[in-house]
Amino acid sequence: MDAVIEVDNVTTAYAGHVIHRHLNLTVHRGEVMALIGGSGSGKTTLLRLLLGLEVPQAGTVKIFGHPLGRCAARDLERVRYRWGVLFQSGALFSALSVFDNIALPLRELGSVPPDLVKPLVMLKLAQVGLKPEDALKRPAELSGGMVKRVSLARALILDPQLLFLDEPTAGLDPDSSKQFVKLLRRLRQELGLTVVMVTHDVDTLFAVVDRVAVLADQHIVACGPLAEVARLPHPFVRNFFLGHVERCAEEDLRRFRLSLDDTSDDGGVPAVLRGEEAAH
């Protein structure tokens, strides 16, 4: 497995306040990596580093082997067309309709014929579970869950190999969030994406994540499969997984994920929970 993201010995500081110190992180092709950490631990800054929006004081960040920061414009272009980003609040362009929002990256390429743009956008819209008539709506008319879906469709329109998700299920009700998680699982199976997500939602972690990186004390204190990380004695990890440790066992995880795939998209109760209900 080759590395898609390599963060090597990165140090970040703002106005004398150190956020990351000698931070290392590697994400491999095809895996789903979650970043967790308390608020103020520098998750968002790390994500901004990975996206090239910030430049570290020391160390390098490489995406697809291209160093970000001090690199040629052509290198940056190679990277930027190969990733999609879902921002926490969607960051949809409020002046554009849903259709134009999703079509924007395609049109910016300048070489895709217009008669190809339309079907591609409508396909993506269908893929994230939105109706064709939603295409003409303005972002202000959308609900929170729909904003996330449209934003995901925009992130996926160039069929990226790497997807960044910043709190993909934050602010969604449990049902929407469950559907969103299912959508992520399906897309991942279909597209073979590498995903890096920042999340606080334990259910999302259980449902889709291969490896978890824990950001605390200015560096990655642990990075590994869920079952391993959940048993760490670090105080943040202990509080985070409080009451969930039993669910992290390999067998339980597999059952939970299967149950997610079993249920229909209309938000039915997963098979495992149904069994529990019957037992009570």
Binding site: S94, M122, A140, Q189
Partner: protein, 389 residues
């Protein structure tokens, strides 16, 4: 693992020196034998750049010539939706009879089978009566809204007079500082230069008639009565009016206005009243300052042009310009200030939660404020045509 079901892809050719794993292999379409086409390389949205039409036509031509040809997709290193769509369209929106593909391609092509209905946009109103009616309606709506805002403002002012504790003194003083004190340098520069130019032109004309001394009358009257207040109002409308509209507009976009509403805090009391009061207070002062700088500029130009002594200029000025003109200028400035702040708030409160509307509203606010200031000035000129002259 969720990647189950995907067969290992054929290994891509070994990377040349300097190539990175993310790089595209060029898409290729070759005849692999009689009635057999091999598709290989990266058929992706980036790989196909500049080649969409060429490949589309090539595939369509191949299908038309040999409908029963074998299509071999197993050599593809990557295929995405755009690439699949180009193939699909070339094949005439169906898979060819003889096709060799990889398992992961199946879902890609399967999604084209569901009919995709493209939504239709509502036809825009054509030119003519309908659009004119819409414009008129929007204009009327503005008028009604402004009247409503003024009414709300008066009611709130009456309440504030009864409960002076609710007046936001701090907010008012901050606004006076922002719209007044911070506007001093720019108004000084503009006023000085306009006064200089004006005086220079007037002196030049008067000199030919030997009526040099009248430059004081003309300049003093024009500046104190009309130009000073007008110039200050136009600069402040552009500077502070736009800032006020943008501030309230951004509060709408970020739902801060809604937050104020649910806390039971009136928009007009907290946002509009301090702005209107502050600008009605600071604009007369800015206008006085601008007038003073215009006269200073005029004085210097008169000295340079005609050798008119500044002491004589200052001595003559109060005798030839009646104080009523100063009061009139002040009263006008006060009204201009209130008007600019009122319009800025009106357009700010009408912003819809998107960026385009914000830009439009700021433009409208400044244009309307400047236009109305000039209109009101003309009304004043007519009403007070026999005062102070």
């Amino acid at each position: 693992m969720s990647t189950a079901g995907a067969l290992p892809l054929p290994a891509p050719p070994p990377d040349e020196a300097g190539a990175h794993p993310g790089d595209d292999a060029p898409p290729r379409l070759e005849a692999a034998g009689p009635r057999e086409w091999r598709v290989s390389g990266d058929w992706t949205v980036l790989g196909l750049r500049e080649h969409y039409d060429a490949f589309g036509q090539q595939i369509a031509a191949a299908v038309a010539a040999e409908p029963d040809a074998l299509w071999d997709l197993r050599g593809l290193t990557r295929l995405d939706t755009a690439g699949a769509l180009v193939l699909w369209r070339g094949w005439g929106r169906k898979t060819p009879g003889r096709l060799l593909w990889l398992p992961e391609h199946v879902t890609l092509f399967a999604q084209f089978l569901q009919p995709v209905a493209l939504p239709r946009r509502k036809p825009a109103l054509g030119p003519g009566l309908a659009r004119a009616a819409q414009r008129l309606l929007a204009f009327t709506q503005h008028g009604v809204d402004i009247v409503a805002l003024v009414g709300r403002l008066l009611l709130d002012l009456a309440q504030l007079v009864r409960h002076p504790g609710q007046i936001g003194w701090r907010e008012i003083s901050a606004n006076v500082f922002r719209t007044g004190a911070q506007a001093l340098p720019i108004t000084a520069l503009v006023g000085f230069l306009v006064g200089l130019t004006l005086s220079y032109l007037i002196s030049k004309q008067l000199k030919t008639y030997g009526a040099d001394i009248f430059v004081i009358n003309i300049l003093g009257l024009a500046v104190l009565r009309e130009l000073g207040p007008l110039l200050a109002a136009i600069i402040v409308a552009g500077r502070s009016g736009s800032a006020m509209t943008a501030q309230i507009g951004v509060m709408r976009v970020t739902q801060e206005l809604d937050a104020l509403s649910v806390m039971g805090i009136s928009h007009t009391v907290r946002l509009v009243v301090p702005k209107v009061l502050a600008l009605a207070l600071s604009l007369p002062l800015v206008a006085l300052w601008t007038s003073a700088l215009m006269l200073l500029g005029g004085m210097l130009a008169a000295r340079a042009q005609m050798g008119l002594d500044p002491a004589q200029f200052l001595h003559t000025l109060p005798r030839v310009v009646e104080p009523a003109n100063l009061w009139l200028g002040w009263a006008k400035s006060m009204i201009f200030g209130g008007l600019i702040a009122l319009l800025a708030s009106h357009f700010g409160l009408r912003v819809k939660p998107n960026t385009e509307s914000l830009g439009q509203s700021v433009t409208q606010s400044v244009v309307t404020a400047i236009t109305l200031v000039i209109v009101v000035d003309a009304v004043f000129a007519v009403l007070f045509s026999n005062v102070g002259i």
